[in-house]
């Protein structure tokens, strides 16, 4: 390479790094400023259909794993297990992808119905790689389906997250487990309120406003609800307490909460476009035997 070419390359490099640096600085000062939001919306309209297509291509392969259970050579074993284990029987009954989807949708409608939410169903078409340190997913519903930022997202198990940005046909959802998320909560029964925070890991940490409140593993919690139901409508099941550790310093305790939703296996979700007129409190929590009241 000639020295002049070297200089030209270095000039280009400096220019590109400068532009990147300017963008990062802008984002740090004014998060999601109008020009950036426009760029992102544009990218969403381009990449949404591509992600939808790619997901549609691989979904049958996902289903294949489940369908293997239907084949004849496994039928006998399935029968044997059926009689042995009633819990396993429930899982095995969902052998076809379609019935599994119907069940998932029913469950979603069940939760929505019990809480009198009106939901728009959507599918997950993209998940952010974990090394981005962001817990977000893309879903295949957007402004055209009535979505807008700060709507609550649920599925059959409970709270999934909230809409971050809504593109035309796809939207980005910020999951409850993202380390930047804090949610107001209410405990089942005691009605104590507190704040639940994402950790980036599988569990969430809970801080109750009343430090004396009684807490035991197994206690369940629902969303407290935000003003006008955005970003969180009230009464959505979130999870249950799995561990209460007294902190070595100070009076606070570290309370760990296991969410009901399996965030690594998200598929069908519902976006709450209309919230209940009355706060359902903890009425949407399934009764202890597992059915929705």
């Amino acid at each position: 390479m000639q020295p002049s070419d070297d200089r030209r390359t270095l000039r280009t490099l400096a220019l590109l790094l400068g532009v990147s640096f300017a963008l990062i600085t802008l984002e740090a000062r004014v998060p999601n400023s109008p020009p950036i939001a426009m760029l992102k919306a544009g990218a969403a309209s381009v990449f949404g259909p591509l992600q939808q297509g790619a997901t549609a291509l691989v979904r049958p392969i996902d289903g294949l794993r489940t369908r293997v259970g239907n084949s004849e050579q496994l039928a006998a074993e399935v029968d044997r297990l059926r009689t042995e284990n009633s819990a396993l029987r429930q899982q095995l009954s969902a052998t076809s992808v379609n019935t599994a989807e119907v069940a998932e949708l029913n469950e979603l409608l069940g939760v929505a119905g019990a809480g009198q939410y009106r939901v728009v169903p959507a599918r997950v078409i993209g998940m952010g790689p974990a090394q981005g340190l962001t817990q977000t997913v893309t879903v295949d519903a957007g402004r055209n389906d009535g979505l807008k930022p700060d709507l609550t997202v649920i599925n059959g198990d409970g709270l999934v997250g909230r809409v971050l940005t809504a593109g035309l046909h796809s939207s980005t959802v910020l999951l409850t487990v993202d380390p930047s998320v804090s949610i107001g909560i209410r405990m089942e029964g005691s009605q104590e309120i507190g704040v639940l925070s994402g950790t980036g890991g599988a569990a969430l940490t809970l801080q109750l406003l009343n430090p004396q409140a009684r807490l035991r593993p197994g206690d369940r919690l629902v969303t407290f609800g935000s003003r006008a139901g955005r970003p969180y409508v009230p009464g959505v099941p979130i999870g249950e307490v799995i561990a209460v550790n007294r902190a070595t310093d100070g009076p606070s305790r570290r309370v760990q909460v296991q969410p009901y939703v399996h965030f690594t296996r998200l598929d069908l979700v519902g976006i709450v476009v209309e919230q209940p007129r009355q706060n359902p409190r903890d009425a949407v929590l399934p009764n202890r035997s597992g059915e929705i009241r």
């Binding site: 390479m1 000639q2 020295p3 070419d5 070297d6 030209r8 390359t9 280009t12 490099l13 590109l16 790094l17 532009v19 990147s20 640096f21 300017a22 963008l23 990062i24 600085t25 802008l26 984002e27 740090a28 950036i36 760029l39 992102k40 544009g42 990218a43 990449f47 949404g48 591509l50 992600q51 790619a54 997901t55 291509l57 691989v58 996902d62 078409i125 993209g126 998940m127 952010g128 790689p129 974990a130 090394q131 981005g132 340190l133 962001t134 977000t136 997913v137 893309t138 971050l164 940005t165 593109g167 980005t172 959802v173 910020l174 993202d178 380390p179 930047s180 950790t199 980036g200 690594t264």
Partner: protein
């Protein structure tokens, strides 16, 4: 001081090394977009623990090694912007653009030195995956991103590097072969061949 004038090789214009025809640019853009979409819609669905293979980075490694630092920096910047803007990304726009632009430039400087060795490509991919991941996190930490948690980073780094390294021969090699100007019968053939041999006497002839 540039490497080649030190070695006394015939000068090779950065433009010839770096210039991409319109077809090559379109193919590069298509590959980056495809890699980004496969990454978020297919690879993250796989039931594998930890992080996800960095497919976009592997495509960039191929392009930068084949075309030198100028194209490397430009391709890295573009690929980074795609990762910054494509949903469901929610980090400061510019973070991946900065990191991958720098990575593309540095990889381009290496030039054709490791064309021959698949093991070399895998080592290079592992190092690059480590470097870009850490650089991405450090920029977040410097700009006060509340999501920066070093324990999470330590948990994810091994799997991120492992998956990326495993896929490296499958992705980098074909991209490298496609974008190498010599392989496409351009004027760069003789010069690049001689230059590569001087830089790496162990490079196999047929690789050149």
């Amino acid at each position: 001081m540039s490497r080649n004038s030190m070695l006394g090789t015939p000068t090779l214009s950065a433009e010839r090394l770096g210039r991409m025809g319109i077809t090559a640019i379109l193919v590069a853009a298509g590959l980056v977009v495809a890699a980004a979409v496969i990454q978020v819609s297919v690879l993250t669905r796989l039931p594998l623990p930890g992080a996800t293979a960095d497919l976009v980075l592997l495509v960039l490694i191929g392009i930068a090694l084949a075309r030198g630092p100028l194209t490397g920096a430009l391709a890295g910047f573009g690929a980074g912007l795609v990762l910054d803007l494509m949903p469901p990304a929610d980090h400061a726009v510019g973070r991946y653009a900065f990191v991958l632009c720098l990575a593309g430039y540095l990889l381009g400087q290496l030039g054709p030195r490791i064309f021959g060795s698949t093991f070399g490509l895998m080592v290079l991919s592992a190092l690059t995956a480590t470097g870009t991941f850490l650089a991405f996190v450090v920029i977040g930490a410097l700009t006060g991103d509340p999501r920066t948690q070093w324990s999470t980073v330590a948990d994810l780094l091994p799997s991120a590097v492992l998956y990326t390294t495993v896929l490296a021969p499958l992705v980098v090699r074909p991209v490298l072969t496609y974008f190498r100007p010599a392989a496409r019968g351009e004027l760069g053939l003789v010069i690049r061949a001689r230059k590569a041999r001087q830089l790496n006497p162990l490079a196999r002839r047929q690789e050149l």
